[in-house]
């Protein structure tokens, strides 16, 4: 009972995570946990290991050592994936699917069939309603990123992870994103956002700073640490 309560208090638990590439430790013994309803910023310079952490949590990279659990399930397992939505910094869309189809399949692949209202709302929120039936070949970087965000938000999740989500977004886009993060947390999800933007830091209640693959700061958001984590 106590163990169950403990698991419930942590949506994501990372323990002593280590991952190396060609004998270089990209992530070195990192441990942290995310509680439901929290928005946590993950900051650190380029190459510090943020994306490696996110890829490992997504189950796309196997850790060399350490443990990652999402609501008690191992990272990458079907159970973990069913409650985790991940949005990467580089939007990747099918050239032969419309915006609406992207959103529809993102929801349907998670077993959600009544997605229309939520999808319409997200298209409106990110000001891409007019792209509803368009193929993404002619989209700008920002428009692609907005579609990518809508795809990540239209599906159900208890853990939302975003890797530099504001790349290419205009001012209103960043504000819509910030509002979405807050709403997700209010709905009970744990949110982890890797960012360099002070705008997004405002909606975060906690911050993890990474440098050279090591966790160098864990606490309240601190703008100064965006530039200099340690």
């Amino acid at each position: 009972m106590a163990a169950e309560a403990k698991t419930k208090a942590k949506v994501l638990e990372v323990k002593e995570l280590t991952k190396s590439f060609d004998h270089h430790a990209a992530v070195n013994g990192i441990s942290f946990a995310l509680a439901p309803g929290s928005v946590t910023a993950l900051v650190g310079p380029n190459g510090s290991g943020k994306t490696t952490i996110i890829r490992t949590v997504a189950g796309l990279s196997k850790p060399d050592s350490g443990r990652i659990e999402i609501l008690g399930a191992a990272a990458g397992s079907r159970q973990a994936r069913s409650v985790t939505s991940i949005i990467f910094d580089e939007p990747a869309l099918y050239a032969d699917l419309t915006v609406w189809e992207h959103l529809a399949f993102s929801a349907r692949l998670c077993g959600v069939e009544d997605f229309s209202a939520r999808a319409d709302d997200l298209l409106r929120r990110f000001s891409i309603s007019e792209l509803h039936d368009s193929l993404p070949s002619g989209f700008s970087r920002g428009q692609r990123q907005k579609v990518s965000l809508a795809m990540g938000l239209v599906r159900p999740y208890k853990l939302l992870i975003l890797d530099e989500p504001s790349n290419g977004l205009d001012g209103p886009g960043v504000r819509s994103l910030a509002a979405s993060l807050t709403e997700s947390a209010e709905a009970g999800a744990a949110v982890l956002v890797a960012t360099h933007l002070p705008d997004l830091l405002q909606v975060c209640g906690a911050m993890l700073a990474i440098s050279d693959g090591k966790l160098v700061y864990q606490g309240k958001p601190d703008r100064a640490r965006i530039e200099s984590p340690s």
Binding site: S82, S85, F105, L109
Partner: protein, 522 residues
């Protein structure tokens, strides 16, 4: 409805949606025109091959000799396919996993194992079919070239091709699923080769490769043995497919990224991008072992003469690239020498191989094209710099082609040494300069194809052929000497004069590079 059934239904809808948009976004007339020109190109090649075939007609004795060695040749093909598959699997082949697919499907709660197995099925079947078609085509050619022989090789050759495809597919999927390191994969490949060599030397006729290879024997295709062997390789392929579910996604993703770059290079007809992506695919990028790195440490200063600077690239090449270059030079030289006896078909095969060797040799030029900032402190114009950077590749090219031609001429009778030496000299110089034009052209900013008129686009095809034409100038001494022989004259003088005339090409290219700078400056 069970989860699996539901997943399959969504995947079906996804494929159907993609297909409908794909068909709608492609111009049918464009496809027909491309198909029409492709058919003309294929027919042209077939016509040249048929015309040249008369030089290659097999005698009954040659067919009998081949038949006696056929099982062993088949065994070697299968060992090579299996070992090649193991090596490819250690680098993440044969599955393709692209970013959009990864984000939408592999991050969803879909069964990843089933998705990977589905991809593996398609890959293995594709290899088997491709192998069968290739084998059948070779068998068909063999039958055409041996009209006096009653055998029917397409079936046997096709069966062996299918087995080789299955062996490659099985090797790669098993290697991928077991996450074999390259060292282990190459080690197993070496052991397989050693096993086959030992079987050959001890006269063993019961090893599985030999038994499967028997299908290659002229005229014995379609036997029970062929189907049994095919079945055995299919079982191995199925084993690979079943195991693929546990493959490392990261490795597949990395490999797919390289394949994606290669496709982009091909789509944009950027030869340099294609070469770089191919190298990255075969060498797994930066992880490859470098050869002769110690030589670079002996060189004194980073601000050395451009000709010496180009040497730096050669000292940083991987051992694998040296092997590839050597193979290209040897085979193209052998084909060029063989053409003396066998005719134009050998030249057609030699030209692209020699050009590829040239592309390997002009690697030094990439530093100028890609990172001109490294050279801003050197007060020279680009044309001069490019010419100086090509000094070392030309020297190395001439030495390699001379050595390879001399060596291969020992195995081809009736070619005067003066002809071989002249052609090799011309080859070494012209392939380097032809490849240099490719490097400079593909590195230069080009006008968007969409902005050009159809006439200009058509002319663009001719412009794209310029590097290949420049790299094939070595044909001049060859054809010159052939012409002399047809007139009953000794060919040596004509070969030599042709070779020296072809040396004018570098001067022309140098002038072109200078002119290009002047034009771009204006």
């Amino acid at each position: 409805m069970s989860q699996a059934v539901q997943e399959r239904a969504v995947l079906r809808d996804l494929s159907s949606a993609r297909r409908s948009h794909f068909a709608a976004s492609h111009d049918l007339l464009n496809v027909i025109v491309k198909g029409y020109f492709s058919a003309i190109a294929v027919l042209l090649v077939l016509d040249v091959a048929a015309t040249s075939a008369k030089f290659f007609v097999f005698t009954s004795a040659q067919v009998a000799t081949f038949s006696s060695f056929a099982p062993r040749i088949g065994a070697v093909v299968l060992v090579a396919a299996l070992a090649g598959g193991l090596a490819a699997g250690s680098r993440g082949a044969p599955l393709s996993l692209f970013a959009a697919e990864l984000r939408l499907l592999f991050l969803s709660p879909m069964n990843r194992e089933r998705l990977l197995r589905g991809k593996a099925v398609r890959a293995v079947v594709r290899y088997a079919i491709a192998g069968a078609f290739l084998g059948a085509a070779i068998g068909f050619g063999a039958r055409t070239l041996s009209p006096a022989h009653p055998a029917d090789p397409p079936l046997g050759f096709g069966a062996l091709g299918a087995m080789a495809g299955l062996a490659y597919g099985a090797g790669s999927t098993i290697s991928l699923s077991l996450a074999l390191t390259r060292r282990v994969a190459y080690g197993i490949g070496f052991l397989l080769a050693a096993f086959e060599a030992a079987a050959y030397m001890s006269g063993l006729h019961t090893d599985p490769f030999y038994l499967s290879g028997q299908t290659l024997r002229y005229g014995t295709g379609g036997t029970t043995l062929a189907f049994t062997a095919l079945g055995a390789w299919a079982v191995l392929g199925a084993l690979g497919i079943v195991r693929t579910g546990s493959a490392d996604i990261e490795k597949i993703e990395h490999h797919s990224e390289m394949v994606s770059r290669l496709r982009f290079g091909l789509a944009t007809r950027d030869i340099r991008a294609v070469i770089l992506a191919s190298r990255a695919l075969s060498e797994d990028g930066y992880r490859s072992r470098r050869a002769f790195t110690f030589l670079w440490r002996l060189l004194p200063s980073p601000r050395m003469a451009p000709a010496l600077r180009s040497l730096a690239n050669f000292t940083h090449w991987s051992i694998r690239r040296y092997v590839r270059l050597l193979a290209l030079v040897l085979v193209s030289s052998w084909l060029a020498t063989l053409a003396w006896e066998k005719g134009a078909l050998a030249y057609l095969a030699a030209i692209p191989l020699a050009f590829a060797a040239g592309l390997e040799l002009v690697d030094a030029l990439s530093s100028v094209v890609d990172r001109p900032v490294n050279f801003v402190n050197i007060p020279v114009d680009d044309g001069w710099l490019v010419s100086r950077l090509l000094v070392m590749p030309v020297i190395i090219g001439v030495v390699l082609f001379e050595a390879a031609s001399m060596a291969t001429s020992l195995f081809v009778k009736g070619v005067p040494l003066a002809v071989v030496a002249s052609v090799a000299l011309s080859m070494g110089v012209s392939v380097v300069f032809g490849a240099a034009i490719t490097a400079v052209r593909s590195g230069a900013p080009s006008v968007g194809v969409g902005l050009l008129t159809p006439e200009a686009q058509s002319f663009g095809i001719f412009l794209e052929l310029i590097p290949l034409v420049a790299a094939s100038v070595w044909l001049l001494p060859s054809l010159n000497s052939h012409h002399a022989v047809s007139l009953g004259r000794p060919p040596e003088t004509d070969a030599l004069s042709g070779a020296f005339f072809s040396l004018v090409v570098p001067v022309g290219i140098w002038a072109w590079l200078r002119a290009r700078n002047v034009i771009s400056a204006e």
